[in-house]
Amino acid sequence: MTRWILILAAVLASSLAMGQDVASNPGSAFKGLDQDVQSLKKEVLDLNRELFVLEEELLFPANTQVAVFVSMDVGTFFSLDSVTLKLDGKEVGNYLYTEREAAALLKGGVQRLYLGNLKVGNHEMVAFFSGQGPHERDYRRGATLTFEKGVGAKYVELKISDRQSQQQPEFLIKEWE
């Protein structure tokens, strides 16, 4: 009997001792947990700030996009061979057209010749068109556009069409609004 009482007492004592550890250090446990939460919160805030900066750095170039398209409305006066595109004096695009590609443009197709990024401000675009003009003679013409790049994508069309009045092809660069 005495033995069972002693065993019971030992079990009770050990469980009390365990409870006392938690009870005696609740503050330290919570303090540790609170510190962990605070540091985690700080990391999240720091990361959020970094992502915001990165997002701006990524988004800004997207807003500087400029796209150049080629279209043809020509039947008689010009057979397109190639287009060369220069932006601010630097060649950015050069495309040779096969017979099939030129025919596709004639049927109403629009080709995206160039996609790039430009900073906000004034820029100059020059396009050179090569091909065969009236009387099957080699033909090379240029067209220039000076434009202001704002915030937002800029779309430009290089349009080749017939000018019936002068019996000559006409080359235009126009901005899409």
């Binding site: 720091d46 990361l47 700030r49 970094e50 900066v53 990165l54 701006e56 061979d81 190639s82 040779l96 057209y97 096969t98 017979e99 099939r100 590609e101």
Partner: protein
């Protein structure tokens, strides 16, 4: 431009370092895969070049045909032996869907044009003085002949020409045409 404190710049650098490493690895792999793109089993790189008396020619427009691309130069003797042989093959199998494109890599286009006219070949003669297409196809010897199947996949690459090769060319071409 936003000012960033040193710790943030460090954090940004740290945040970028892993994706930058990944991007570098991917680009390296892409370069390796692009460099190997003219190897058998790989899709034939697309190109468009000016042709002699025939406008501009883009190889991808011949998808569905068997295409033989032959790189040559005016200074290369075996090249000028190979071209008439290729012309015979072209005349025999053109109706079966064979296309042959000869690409000259000389700086002096005028000289290459003279030779082309003298050879009186039936297939298109293209000119690549900038050698961009040559680099795309990793031309490291001449003449180099690339056989491309109807799906646009490179099947055989020959880095030289000897008369003994005629039978091999014929055999490989017939296999591709019969596919």
């Amino acid at each position: 431009m936003l000012e960033t404190p040193c710790s943030m710049r460090f954090a940004i650098r740290r945040a970028w370092s892993r994706p930058l490493r990944a991007l570098f690895l991917l680009s390296t792999l892409a370069c390796v895969s692009a460099a190997a793109s003219s190897a058998p089993g790989q899709p034939a790189p697309d190109f468009v070049l000016r042709a002699l008396d025939a406008g501009n020619i883009r190889i991808s427009e011949f998808r569905g045909e068997v295409v033989v691309v032959n790189f040559w130069a005016a200074w290369c003797g075996p090249c000028q032996q190979a071209l008439p042989r290729l012309d015979e093959l072209y005349q025999r199998y053109q109706r079966a869907g064979l296309v042959i494109l000869a690409i000259n890599l000389d700086d002096d286009v005028a000289r290459a044009q003279d030779i082309s006219r003298k050879l009186s070949l039936s297939f298109p003669m293209l000119f690549d003085p900038s050698k961009e297409t040559g680099r795309l196809y990793q031309v490291d010897s001449m003449p180099m002949t690339v056989l491309i199947d109807r799906e646009g996949i490179v099947r055989h690459v020959h880095g030289s020409y000897r008369e003994d090769d005629d039978e091999l060319y014929l055999k490989q071409l017939r296999e591709l045409i019969d596919e």
